[in-house]
């Protein structure tokens, strides 16, 4: 199967500034794909390169097998939902949604019908006659979606479409977008700086830093097996502990505060070699053993330095023996479990399968 979108070694320069560094990417038909990264890392630039608003300085882009070099934005099988939504304020909702149909050969009634359908699909049935400048943020977003989807593009590009919405509306739109994507079966490429959003919505996520793709994987792999400390740090919370690799083939380590441990090949980079390194572990993959709970084999001793009570959860900062930085451990506040105090000693157990070795 050939990929619907195929970028090879794409670079982009703005003057001296290297905005995209050798980006290669294949996206399949029907995928919900996310570009995730901190602000300024080049997500929008990459999206606009696919849309045809930026020309790559070098590298190639194919969409559905066709080379996009020299194909202007208005001739590409892509449509875009802009970050500002770019709803034409001088037109009605229906005129906005039907904007791209101007040159289509179908009859006026057919066009009106497809506008109606598009509006219904995004939950704006009956809004066609409204003036666009009187819409709320969430409604604008839906109009932008309908306007782009009505042309049945091969790829829908979305540039931080939810970042302007408040939390509640954003969460609602996340699931709606996902549902919509499954319904229409069109490839979605979503740009976001919100790691949670990327994990929730996507089939696959490309994490970008400074113009480069740092890791491309499905959400679970991304979360459980980050390839670098940077990715692990950017997605969720991760504790980092100094470690020494004793044996690079069997992957035996000494981890500060946790002691000797052997990990599986999928927990370590293939480039791992003996010497100093670092391991990462998520807060929920460690736990504090309360009185009466049976001992585990992986146990470390520590003192609680700080705690943050979240209601359903409590986050503890625990100082392990022989470790400078405190580590964070999250505990669910289940029935009968006390909330510990600062200064209490804690027995910490952890899951060796959840350790990730970084060699960078």
């Amino acid at each position: 199967m050939t990929a619907l979108i195929d970028l090879k070694n794409v670079n982009k320069y703005y003057g001296d500034y290297h905005a995209l560094r050798d980006v290669s990417l294949e996206i399949a038909q029907g995928e919900f794909f996310s570009l995730l990264g901190p602000s300024g890392c080049g997500k929008t630039t990459l999206l606009r390169t696919i849309a045809g608003f930026e020309d790559p300085s070098d590298g190639t882009l194919h969409i559905a097998g066709a080379d996009m070099n020299g194909v202007p934005a208005n001739a590409r099988p892509t449509n875009m939902v802009f970050q500002s939504y770019a709803i034409f304020p001088h037109l009605t909702v229906a005129e906005n949604v039907g904007f791209g149909l101007r040159k289509s050969p179908s009859s006026k009634t057919d066009k009106m019908k497809s506008v109606e359908e598009a509006l219904e699909m995004v939950g704006l049935k009956g809004f066609g006659g409204r003036a666009a400048h009187a819409l709320s943020g969430g409604q604008r977003q839906r109009v932008a979606l309908a306007r782009a989807l009505i042309l049945k593009p091969k790829v829908l590009l979305l540039d931080e479409p939810l970042s302007a919405l408040d939390k509640k509306l954003r969460e609602q739109m996340q699931s709606e977008l996902r549902r919509l994507q499954r319904q229409v079966g069109i490839t979605f490429i979503l740009v976001t700086h919100d790691q949670e959003e990327a994990l929730i919505m996507s089939d696959r996520v490309a994490v970008m830093f400074e113009g480069e793709i740092a890791q491309l994987a499905d959400p679970q792999t991304l979360y459980k097996r980050p390839l670098s400390r940077k990715v692990g740090d950017f997605i969720g919370v991760m504790n980092f502990l100094p470690a020494a690799v004793r044996n690079a083939t069997a992957i035996e380590l000494d981890v500060a505060g946790l002691g000797p441990v052997t990990i599986a090949p999928d927990q370590a980079p293939s480039t791992a070699k003996t010497g100093p390194a670092e391991v990462g572990i998520r807060p929920e993959m460690m736990s504090i053993l309360f009185e009466g709970e049976p001992d585990r084999e992986t146990i470390a001793e520590g003192i609680i330095k700080d705690r943050a009570y979240y209601g359903d959860m409590t986050y503890y900062d625990v100082h392990l023996k022989n470790v400078d930085q405190p580590i964070t451990i999250s505990m669910k506040n289940i029935i009968g479990r006390p909330v510990l105090d600062i200064g209490d000693t804690a027995r910490v157990s952890w899951d060796a399968r959840s350790l990730v070795l970084f060699s960078d």
Binding site: N74, R102, R147
Partner: protein, 266 residues
């Protein structure tokens, strides 16, 4: 606070005193402009259409003002578009240079144009006045159009392109409708400026006076003063009407673009 408001109102009175007197004396039945008023008459207004030189100068002025408005708005659109959309070398100095006629004393503009036109052997007339008026009106047009073009979200044009339009049809379907209120107000403002402008016209008009030049020639004759007052009343009323129209356009433009009103022209 209270005293500040009083001061503001006194200041407005100071600003409006002269033009408020215009209609008072335009309808006053006396040839000298002084209190007490002597009676009501419309005589000065009915005399106006019977002065052929006046009619000619009005026609001449209207012709000059219309052409000036169109040319300076076109130049203003080019400049405002370039400033809003592109980065190019020496952008700031170039934009600053184009705005210079706004602050230059008009007499300097007038004499320097006069010198060069005479040297080139061009005969003075409506055409030469238009040249000067376009020069001083363009910066005003740029100032008005600039904010409209700058307020235009670049994503609007990109969205149209993304939906299959060409750059030209995008300009026609999206850009123009969104900036058209500013274009209309630029047309109206430059029309008004040209219609009122005196010094440049005085130097460059040759044998066909514009309305202000004709007025100037009449100011020497005390007997003509009441007629001048009547004419002034019409002119001022016309200017105010055009201005209100221009302001309504500007506000409509802001509303269309869904923007907050941040003040008037300039």
């Amino acid at each position: 606070m209270k005293s500040l408001r009083t001061y503001a109102i006194l200041y407005l009175i100071f600003l409006y005193a002269p033009i408020a007197l215009l209609p008072i004396f335009a309808f006053n039945d006396a040839t000298i402009i002084a209190f007490p008023l002597s009676g009501f008459t419309t005589q000065w207004f009915t005399e106006l259409p019977q002065i052929p030189a006046l009619i000619d100068s009005v026609k001449n002025s209207l012709y000059i003002a219309v052409i000036t408005a169109i040319l300076s708005t076109l130049l203003g659109i080019c400049a405002a578009r370039a400033a809003a959309k592109y980065t190019f070398r020496f952008k700031r100095p170039i934009m600053g240079f184009i705005m210079v006629p706004l602050v230059l004393p008009e007499i300097i503009v007038a004499v320097s144009l006069l010198v060069i036109l005479l040297q080139l052997g061009l005969s003075l007339g409506a055409g030469t006045v238009i040249m000067g008026h376009v020069l001083i009106c363009t910066p005003f047009c740029i100032a008005i159009l600039n904010s409209a073009f700058q307020n235009l979200d670049p994503a609007m044009e990109e969205a149209a392109i993304d939906l299959g339009e060409t750059p030209w049809s995008t300009f026609r379907l999206v850009t123009l409708p969104l900036v058209s209120p500013a274009i209309i107000s630029a047309l109206l403002i430059s029309f008004t400026i040209s219609l009122d402008e005196f010094i440049i016209a005085f130097f460059l008009t040759g044998t066909e006076p514009t309305l202000p030049v004709y007025l100037w020639s009449q100011l020497r004759f005390p007997a003509r003063i009441p007629v001048v007052m009547a004419l002034g009343t019409i002119l001022v009323a016309g200017s105010i009407l055009l201005l209100i129209l221009a302001e309504m356009m500007r506000r409509r433009g802001l509303r269309r673009a869904g923007l907050q009103d941040k003040g008037g022209f300039l």
